[in-house]
Amino acid sequence: MSYKKLVHSCVFIISCLGAIYVNALSNTKVKQRTVGIIVPIEHQALTDIVNGFKQTLKQYDDSINIIVKNALGEINIQRSIIEQFKHQNIDLMVPVSLGTTQMAANLNSRIPIISLASKYDQNQQIPKNVAGVSDEIGAKKKIELLKAIYPQIKKFSLIYSGSEKILPEVEDAVVEANDRGIKVQKMMIKELRDLYSVSRMISDDSELIFILKDNLVASGVQTLVREAKKRKIPLMTSDECTIIGGGSFALGVKEQQIGIQGAKLAIKLFAGANIQELPFEQMEELTIFYNEVTCRKQELDVSRLKTIANNMQYSILSVTQSYQRG
């Protein structure tokens, strides 16, 4: 073999080896996953859910790119965000709330969706690319707790807004209360500014103010705290934020837990599960949140509350304004 041929052969072999190496490198390079979270409106509870989701997913894989977009309450912005995620060809969409999930599922049937804090009607078919976590706690459990704490209660005032999740819960709560011999004064608000006037219309014989997990009413919880204080009656709510804000006690779930449970579904998906195999889960761990300061002022025995929580197999957590969530 001549010297020239040897050099050509070496160059050829080195080139081939180089090409194989570069090809192998490009094959081993893992594509960075992107997750897009769509929040319909700015709200502390929704922020907590998103934080729970982000933290859990980052613990699983720190390289995952998580984009959070807020639609600021506008349907046009929400649609643009969903279309943008579609355009970016992200790996997973995470809409928070039912309306956002419906829009995401309607505009996109390709990218998997894990919905947080939403609940589909029983007679409504969940789209094939949607799994998720429902944050709904049946009204029955809340009324049972209320009756356990106040066995002699005859009437309470239920204040609610017209959100898509709340109305069926209101009807359930009324039925459950009536079944236990409790009358309900139903009071609906359209906007936050209605809350003050409505709170002034609470019946004199009402023994408790009750609110569901209702973002609009929760935003104005201070108005109800003041009214409850004036009337010397307790304020029962359905989430921890409103208890931190001055409510007496609540049966709810830790908001972060919704995000954590949703992130676990996302991890299963990234581990190779098919979105159609993933369920729409209910929250399992329920917590009684109470505000020690308010309870003391209303002479609500905290040790009794703890006993009731133990009997009903709920965890119990004291939260005040100094309490740091998460």
């Binding site: 700015e42 959070v68 977009k69 807020n70 639609a71 600021l72 309450g73 506008e74 349907i75 046009n76 912005i77 649609r79 643009s80 965000i81 279309e83 943008q84 579609k86 355009h87 039912l98 309306g99 419906q102 829009m103 599922a105 309607n106 505009l107 589909y120 009607d121 409504q124 078919q125 789209p127 017209g162 959100s163 898509e164 999740k165 709340i166 109305l167 069926p168 359209k190």
Partner: protein
């Protein structure tokens, strides 16, 4: 989807509402925020009708009739200018919130399992419906009725001397305006797949912004000597909507923080509106507001 096509698609869905606002704001020269409510009413009537098994085209007609009645209601509140138009529309919005609830029976109706227009005729039905609404506006404004509607907006005193009952023009104008808003609600529910009691938030203000910006843009381009031209005005409505959605999608695409989105979008719209203020047509008093 390409930003331009996305904005174009959103504008086609939104255009009936912009034209509805154009009828009330520019033609009748009245401020009507009722469209926030009739937009939802249209979507609500349509979704509820579908869920009850009504044929989609009949459901659309029911929604249009509902929107028209919403406009009639606000014109009756305003009757003979006894209640300020802004106050009247806020009152109408109040009433419509309860009406919408009664219509829907709940706060959210999904169209996912129903036979919708898109299910029956494909996506192009949205463009076809939009073209029908444009045709309707052109026919109305090119007719004698359109002339009288413009007369009502421009000079009520003169109209009173010409015809005995000018209130019917207010009623018809606001009726058509809100009917178009309801139609936009139908198209939005179709495209998004659901009707929701809170879906009307911010629609009127976005629509007014689109009308003002779009009409100024079109007058700058054409520099037409004609004071009124229905074709160019509708093109202006379209351009206004397109400008809004292009700005919105571009800002989102370049990664503006969501919390600052409305601030930046607001500044862009203010800059455009400042441009309207310096328009030569404004200086000679074409825009009477």
């Amino acid at each position: 989807m390409n930003i331009f096509y996305l904005a174009l698609e959103q504008t086609i869905v939104f255009l009936p509402l912009v034209m509805g606002i154009y009828l009330s704001y520019k033609i009748l020269q009245t401020t009507d925020l009722t469209v926030d409510g009739t937009f939802v009413l249209g979507a609500a009537l349509y979704a509820r009708s579908l869920s009850m098994g009504v044929e989609p085209l009949v459901a659309v007609l029911i929604a249009l009739a509902g929107g028209f009645l919403g406009g009639v209601m606000v014109s009756l509140i305003q009757f003979k200018d006894k209640v300020n138009s802004l106050i009247a529309s806020i009152l109408a919005l109040f009433i419509l919130y309860s009406v919408n609830f009664q219509v829907m029976g709940r706060a959210n109706i999904s169209l996912q399992d129903n036979r919708t227009l898109i299910y029956l005729f494909g996506d192009q039905i949205i463009l076809f419906m939009c073209l029908i609404s444009i045709g309707l506006v052109v026919v109305i404004l090119s007719s004698q009725l359109g002339l009288k509607l413009r007369g009502f907006g421009a000079n009520k005193s003169l109209m009173q001397k010409i015809t005995s009952n000018i209130e019917k023009f207010r009623m018809l104008g606001l009726g058509f305006s809100n009917m178009l808003a309801a139609f936009c609600g139908v198209l939005t529910a179709e495209v998004n797949g659901y009707a929701d009691i809170n879906m009307g938030f911010g629609m009127a203000l976005t629509g007014i912004g689109s009308v003002v910006i779009g009409l100024d843009l079109i007058r700058r381009v054409y520099r037409s000597r004609k004071i009124f031209n229905v074709g160019s005005d509708i093109l202006g409505c379209f351009l206004g909507g397109l400008t809004y959605f292009l700005s919105l999608n571009t800002l989102l695409r370049i990664g503006i923080e969501p919390i600052n989105l409305k601030l930046v979008l607001g500044v862009i719209l203010v800059m455009l509106l400042r441009g309207v203020g310096s328009s030569p047509l404004n200086k000679i008093g074409v825009n009477r507001e």
